[in-house]
């Protein structure tokens, strides 16, 4: 028996842009809190310049790929990040990658929750 799926397909077509918006928003927020904020909490502090150089760019949607950059602009940031042998009174090496590793497992659920809220709110 033929089944009319046009209504279902129309709903899907409406949902896709909304889902993309939600993913973009989730990535944007996640890159700032907790990824960058946790990284700043672990950043070595001597003068405060390095921790203050933490920055992000707005999340971008390119086709089906969402990207967001988070990092530290101080020109010595990479050296401080990668020198594992340095002793720090405050903070640690690998402050950004550690934040990414720790927060990684929370990323998928965060995006899913944002998409769910968007779709349910827009239903």
């Amino acid at each position: 028996m033929p089944v009319d799926r046009s209504d279902h397909l129309a709903k899907l077509a409406r949902a896709t842009p909304a889902a993309r918006r939600a993913v973009l928003r989730a990535v944007d927020r996640f890159g700032e809190v907790p990824v960058l904020s946790d990284a700043q909490a672990m950043t070595p502090v001597k003068t405060g310049f390095l921790v203050a150089s933490g920055t992000t760019t707005p999340a971008k949607l390119d086709g089906e790929v969402v990207t967001k950059e988070a990092g530290f602009n101080a020109d010595y940031a990479a050296a401080v990040h990668e020198r594992l042998g340095n002793k720090h009174d405050v903070g640690q090496a690998k402050f950004l990658s550690t934040s990414l590793q720790r927060n990684g497992p929370r990323f998928g659920p965060k995006v899913a929750a944002e998409v769910k809220a968007e779709l349910e709110g827009g239903a």
């Binding site: 010595y76 990479a78 050296a79 990668e82 594992l84 042998g85 090496a93 990658s97 550690t98 590793q101």
Partner: protein, 147 residues
Amino acid sequence: MAQVDWESFLDKLAAWMAAGTSPALVYSSVPRALWIGSALEADAADPYSVLRIYGGAVPYPGPAKCSIQCRTVGTSVAAAMQQAVKLFNTLINADQTPKRMTTIAASPNGFRANAIDPLQPPSFLSRDDRGRAEVIFNFDASVVGLP
């Protein structure tokens, strides 16, 4: 979860990586080109490389996955980069894919790396306080012990 003696793994990994370079980097005599943990400068070749676990304190024995940094230090940027690339190439196949299910050291007390995931190719980082070039790359290793 299987527990791994990471100190022992690093030792076996360094020997395996050194053997995988051509000509083989010196790991077991001085001047040593490859170290684990930290290098004794007086006994180190130029350039020399150090494998070191990062990501916080590693319990003994630790979990089956760890992040490792390979830091190469040399007076010549080119020589340091060349050595880092040699070591990096031991972690990937000819088609540039990361090594999988690779025996690092055979039984007894051996290790198999189920997955090695290079996080980036060797990169010039900076110069240390003695003006020497620093080249680093990082990789994750998922490992099982072979009784």
